[in-house]
Symmetry: C2
Subunit: 481 residues, 2 copies
């Protein structure tokens, strides 16, 4: 490696040295994001936004395939609407942005910039829903939301972020619960299959549930530094909002009833998960299914053969570009410099082509995930790329799963637990008595929280990790973002 090339990589702090700085170095240097002139807000640059668009397209299809339709509700919510549901306002009021003036006039009623849209959507559902024939209502929206955060971090926690929020209304309690779990499963599938991130699906404790929900389900992922990230939530809202907003329907039995509701959301936070689960000291690694560039062509162009190589490279771009998301780097930098840059940008496959390759009718493909090099005959290129992208996608999931397995500990002893959380972090599977006292004590002692009560796992033997009392649940603990 030439000195210059080493320097390039050196510009990114190593993960071991300072994980948090590594994260910032990578996302700024790869032009995923930039700081905005407004505190706590981010600019999502084209490279980061194209990733988000690819994620949106895949998830939006799944949302529509399960019968939902998109709509758009206003950005502003009158203060009086927000305040209708007591838990909800308590949860959100401390972190909302207030609009007090329109033009030069003071508003008669203050408006909040939506931190989430349950209240304004419920006020419309009360108007739209009259009869059992109107149910279910299955609506989703993609939008920006604002939560005034004190400590921010691009993608993970910002004052403004982008997300989708689904809001549904149902005839029965069972249907609402079915919807809640169905969408949790949609999220799991999306995050595992498309983002190559393994997740644990589970129920939040009462302490950690959404402000106003009956039950909150979550998908929890493990980041490269052993901290957990809540990556998506699906709430069974019960009839809390329906009663407050008077969303009733005349059922087939001629009785006036309250609807049952669910809501669910994932956000640009998932971009942070992709970076932290897959990234390494060379930079990003983006799963092929959502990568803005799946294959980057780097022509090797000694002066004499520059034109011939470039012509061939561009021809490949045209042919393969119909099937794969491609880019070409024909800038006047050394090949080594370009290799490093595109590795840092996390492009799954690099295609090198030089004068000798052209003579041999071949190209070189290099995998970002393993560094493996392949000499591929031109006629096999299309099918080889397709195969390799699928393998990379799969391998990235397997690597992340292996990391999680290695960083998940089963623990029965509170001292051990404290050591693990302090030293190695990761997920710790342990028993809990179900009382908030223990949950809070553990958080105070270790900063670890109950990430979820897993849905599909057996209970461990033994008693509560903290108080030694009877264990009600086996749960996952972790320090979280």
């Amino acid at each position: 490696m030439a000195k210059k090339d080493k320097d390039f990589v050196k510009e990114v702090t190593s993960r071991e040295e300072d994980y948090s700085q590594w994260y910032l170095d990578v996302i700024l240097k790869t032009e995923m994001v930039d700081y905005a002139p407004v505190k706590g807000c981010m600019v999502i640059r084209p490279y980061g936004f194209t990733l988000w668009e690819n994620m949106q397209a895949l998830l939006d299809k799944k949302i529509k395939d399960t019968g939902h339709k998109n709509a758009y509700f206003p950005l502003f919510i009158p203060e009086s609407l927000l305040q209708k549901e007591a838990d909800h306002v308590e949860g959100f009021a401390p972190e909302v942005a207030w609009v007090t003036h329109g033009g030069n006039e003071k508003l008669a009623e203050r408006l909040v910039v939506r931190p989430t849209s349950e209240t304004i959507i419920c006020s419309m559902y009360a108007k739209w829903i009259q009869s059992w024939r109107d149910l279910p209502v299955l609506i989703n929206q993609w939008c920006n939301v604002v939560r005034w955060e004190k400590t921010t971090r691009p993608f993970l926690r910002t004052s403004e972020f982008l997300w989708q929020e689904g809001h549904t209304a149902h005839r029965t309690e069972e249907e609402a619960q079915e919807e809640t779990l169905k969408m949790l499963e949609v999220y799991r599938e999306f995050v595992e299959e498309d983002l190559a991130i393994p997740v644990i699906t589970g129920l939040k404790t009462d302490k950690e549930k959404f402000a106003g929900a009956l039950r909150t389900y979550t998908i929890e992922a493990l980041m490269g530094d052993g901290r957990a990230l809540q990556s998506g939530t699906s709430h069974n809202l019960g009839q809390h909002f329906a009663k407050v907003f008077d969303i009733t329907f005349l059922d087939q039995d001629d009785q006036l009833k309250y609807v049952w509701q669910a809501s669910w959301g994932v956000s640009t936070r998932l971009i942070g998960a992709i970076i932290m689960v897959h990234g390494d000291n060379r930079g990003l690694k983006i799963p092929p299914k959502v990568a803005p560039v799946q294959v980057v062509v780097v022509p090797i162009m000694p002066k004499k053969t520059r034109e011939v190589v470039l012509e061939k490279a561009e021809a490949l771009l045209v042919t393969l570009g119909e099937k794969f998301r491609m880019d070409i780097d024909d800038r006047d930098y050394s090949p080594g410099w370009k290799f490093n840059e595109w590795e840092m940008k996390g492009v799954p496959l690099r295609l090198e082509i030089g004068p000798k390759d052209i003579e041999k009718g071949q190209v070189v493909l290099v995998r970002r995930d393993t560094g493996e090099k392949f000499f591929v005959k031109e006629e096999d290129l299309d099918s080889t790329i397709e195969k390799l992208l699928a393998e990379i996608q799969d391998n990235m999931f397997q690597m992340a799963l292996e990391f999680r397995t290695q960083n998940t500990t089963q623990c029965e002893d509170y001292e051990d637990f404290q050591k693990i959380i302090a030293d190695r972090r990761g997920f710790v599977r342990a028993n809990w008595c179900g009382h908030e006292q223990c949950e809070e004590k553990i958080k105070e002692d270790t900063k670890a929280t109950i990430r979820c009560i897993p849905l599909k796992e057996d209970k461990m033997q033994g008693s509560c990790l903290c108080c030694g009392g009877e264990a009600k649940e086996t749960v996952y603990f972790a320090r979280a973002y």
Copy 2:
């Protein structure tokens, strides 16, 4: 027509009786939109939002095909940034929403909710652009914007609306001008070919140009009531913003230079244009290329044959649904009632199928635009639908063009002009001396404004319509939304 069916149609005010009420009746009854509990804001319901998604998909592709990439910039703009460009702040300050508090704390600096994003984007471009190699910067964003409007009207003028805004930076004045006109042409093509709305492309007068622009270009369409609608704008910003935000680059000649900029946008206002250009007293007429539902299947189901018909109808939905956007109406209403409802919703083609049709191996297709009925053999269905949708798209454009031609008058006499604007409205082509005095007098006298100085038309003979002085331009006047 049964009485009940007549009643259904009667619920929509006729356009002749009250155009403005017709507009509201149609968009509320077809569930395109609803009023929100926030003054001047709208809820775009799934039927309206699906239309917007279809429009977005087509335009987004054109924007990307011309080399632009999407990004996302913050919703909030610090007051100090907005105030940097004098014309710009003067134009927007009276109509912005102000955020003064975050959580329980008063902000050190007030924030405006973006009315447009030139200022915040320019502050980033100043950081990103260093060298001629960084140019051009070609970025677009789809987002919500807020302008505190006193008089609002769903889609046409609302306090919050959705739009796209392109913001580009170039090395030379010529390139910025080329970009400005290129995007105007992209808009013209999109609105004419996809929305079937003929537009006049032209330059805005200094009085009507964008606050901070050097030159503003526009596409102007004529609504069904003879009023014009500014349907999209493309601005050559010159170096106004570059100088204020210090966006400089080192050129190849080693000189530090200011960039040249353009910006361009269209919004959900275009949905209003679709409604007003194509709608009639039976409701909406949506152009096939963007229609949420292109073909609605209405099974004719006498009790005895209900199941057979429904099965056949659903089978058609599956086969044809792969190619066309389809819906089926199997509710327990009379066919006549359903016909009226789907006509009101503006679905281009209705497919009727009953027991007799099944016997004959045919279906009935009915065009929304002409009311024509076709008996089509099942094996010809796919190709016939494809052909008819294309014909409908074309016919809708031709009908709108004909209406515009009939409602465009050439005028040399100011008294005639005043009569036309008062009685028939429409576009009036007339000569103008180029002075703001005459422009203002005409507006005061008639409420008509200069919609644009057309790009591709010859000048008329004669003198200024208003002052009789030497004519500098032949322009289009109209009363506008």
